[in-house]
Symmetry: C2
C-alpha cells in the first residue's frame, strides 16, 4: 500500500422499501439514497405521493401491500400508529426486516405477527420542504432478535451519528418528552405569533430569544434557567399581562397554569 492510500470500506447496498409515502418516508428515503442504499419499492394507497416518491428514487410503485417484494432487505412501515398492526397482518412474504418508526407504538405491534422485525425511530419532526441534517438526529432502535438488531444498527449508522438501543417502554416516555418540547412549544410559539401579529409586530423579533431559550437549556439545565415574572413573584407584571389577556380566556388560563407551575407560591394569587 502506498503512503496516503486509504482503505475505503464499501457500504453494501441495501434494498429498502417504504410502505407509506408521507413526510417520514420522504425524509428517510432521501437520507438512505444519499448514503448509497437503494430505494427498491414504494407501496402507498396515495397514488400521487407514492408514485412521486418512487419516481424520485427510481423505485417500483404499488398501491397494495399484497404486491410487497420478498427481496427487500428492509421494509419501513412509515404509517400512522393505528395502521401499523393492521398493515403487518397483510404482509404475505417472508424475509425482509420489517420496522416501524413510531415513538409511541410497541414493537409487538409487528412482532406479534411478523419476524424478523424491529423499530427504527428517528427523533425529529419531518416535513416535505425541509431537509434536516440527519447525522445529528438520534435514531432509537429495537428488535426481538440480537442479530437483526445489529443489522438495523448498521443501517442506522449510515445516516446518523447517534444510534441508541431503546426498549418500547422507554421510547414511549421519550415520545412524551418529545411531544412536550415540539408540539407544546409549537403551540406557545403560535400564541406568541398571534400576539405579535395583532399588534403589527414582526414575529421574527422573537427569534433570537426563542433560540437562546433552547440553546441555554441544553448547555446547562432548564430547571436552573427560569427567569421572568412568575419565578420572581412579580405580581405587577403578572397582573399587567393578565389584563392584556382579559378577552382571551383560553390563553389567560394557560398563562395562569404555566405561572403557577413555574412558581407554586402563586397558587392562590392569580
Amino acid at each position: 500500500m502506498f503512503a496516503g492510500q486509504r482503505i475505503i470500506e464499501e457500504v453494501v447496498k441495501a434494498k429498502i422499501t417504504f410502505i407509506g409515502s408521507g413526510n417520514l418516508a420522504w425524509n428517510l428515503a432521501g437520507a438512505f439514497d444519499l448514503a448509497g442504499h437503494q430505494i427498491h419499492q414504494v407501496i402507498s394507497r396515495n397514488e400521487q405521493t407514492g408514485q412521486a416518491l418512487a419516481k424520485t428514487y427510481a423505485a417500483f410503485y404499488h398501491s397494495s401491500v399484497d404486491k410487497l417484494f420478498s427481496d427487500s432487505d428492509f421494509v419501513f412501515l412509515a404509517l400512522p400508529d393505528k395502521a401499523i398492526r393492521e398493515t403487518v397482518q397483510q404482509i404475505k412474504v417472508k424475509g425482509p426486516v420489517v420496522m416501524h418508526s413510531a415513538g409511541s407504538c410497541d414493537l409487538n405491534a409487528i412482532s406479534d405477527h411478523y419476524q424478523p422485525c424491529g423499530v427504527f425511530y428517528p427523533l425529529q419532526t419531518f416535513t416535505m420542504e425541509r431537509k434536516p441534517d440527519f447525522f445529528k438526529i438520534p435514531v432509537f432502535i429495537e428488535s426481538t432478535d440480537k442479530e437483526v438488531l445489529e443489522r438495523i444498527r448498521e443501517l442506522a449508522e449510515v445516516i446518523s451519528n447517534e444510534v441508541v438501543e431503546l426498549n418500547s417502554e422507554k421510547r414511549l416516555f421519550m415520545h412524551l418528552a418529545a411531544v412536550i418540547v415540539n408540539n407544546f412549544n409549537n403551540h406557545l410559539l403560535t400564541q406568541a405569533e398571534k400576539i405579535m401579529d395583532e399588534h403589527g409586530l414582526p414575529f421574527r423579533y422573537l427569534r433570537p430569544l426563542a433560540m437562546e431559550t433552547v440553546n441555554k437549556a441544553f448547555e446547562g439545565s432548564p430547571s436552573k434557567n427560569q427567569t421572568g415574572p412568575a419565578v420572581r413573584k412579580d405580581m405587577d407584571t403578572l397582573n399587567k399581562h393578565l389584563e392584556l389577556l382579559r378577552s382571551n380566556s383560553q390563553l389567560s388560563d394557560l398563562y395562569k397554569l404555566m405561572s403557577k407551575d413555574i412558581n407554586p407560591d402563586l397558587e392562590n394569587r392569580m
Copy 2:
C-alpha cells in the same frame, strides 16, 4: 486619498453609567465596552457585583444614587421593574439621558420625574456566563423627546443591527409574547428534562428536535406546523401519555390543557 484607504467614521466615545449590577448591566456593559464606549460609573447596593463590574471596565463604583455623576451621557436603570420609579426619584443631577430596559415598565415611570429619558429594551434573556451575539438582538427604543430618541438610536445602533422605535403599550404586548416563548418554553423544557432523567435518558437527545421546532416556526409560521397526537386526534397515543402521567397530576393537567388548546375537538374527550 490613496487607493484602498478607507474613511473610518469615529464613534464619539459616550460615558455610560449603570445603576444596578445584575445580568443585564453586565451584558450591556460588555457590549458597549466592545463598541468603544466608556463605562463611567457603576452604582449598586450590591457591593460585590457592583465593584466587580466597575473594576472590569475601569469605572467608578458607588453604592448610592446620591453619588451619581452629572457628566454621564447615558444612565441605565438596570433594575427590577418595581425599583425603577423609586430610584428615578432619588436622582438629583441634571443632564444624562436616563433609561430603563424593562419590557413591561412604562416610559412614564421615568418621565413623570426626570427628563431627558427613554427606554432601551434589548429583547433577550441574559445570564452572567453566556455572551450572546448582541448584533442579532433587536433593541426597542422610546423617548418623550424626538432629539433624545435619536441619541438613543445612535447608541443602540452601535451594538445591534435591529433598532426599532416602539411605544410602551406595544412593548408590553411584546413582553407578554417574550414570556411565552422564553419562560413558558423553559418550563416545558424543564418538564421534558425531568421525564428523561427519570428514565435514564440523556436530555441532549431532545436537542435537535427542540431546535428544529424553533427554526421551523420562524422559517414559516408555527400556526401551520402543528403535528403530533393532539392535532391528529390520536386518542390512543394521548391516552398512553396520560397513563404515563397518572401519578403527576400537575403535568397531566398541563398536558390536557395544551392538547385541548391545540385541538378544540378534544374538549370533552380528555
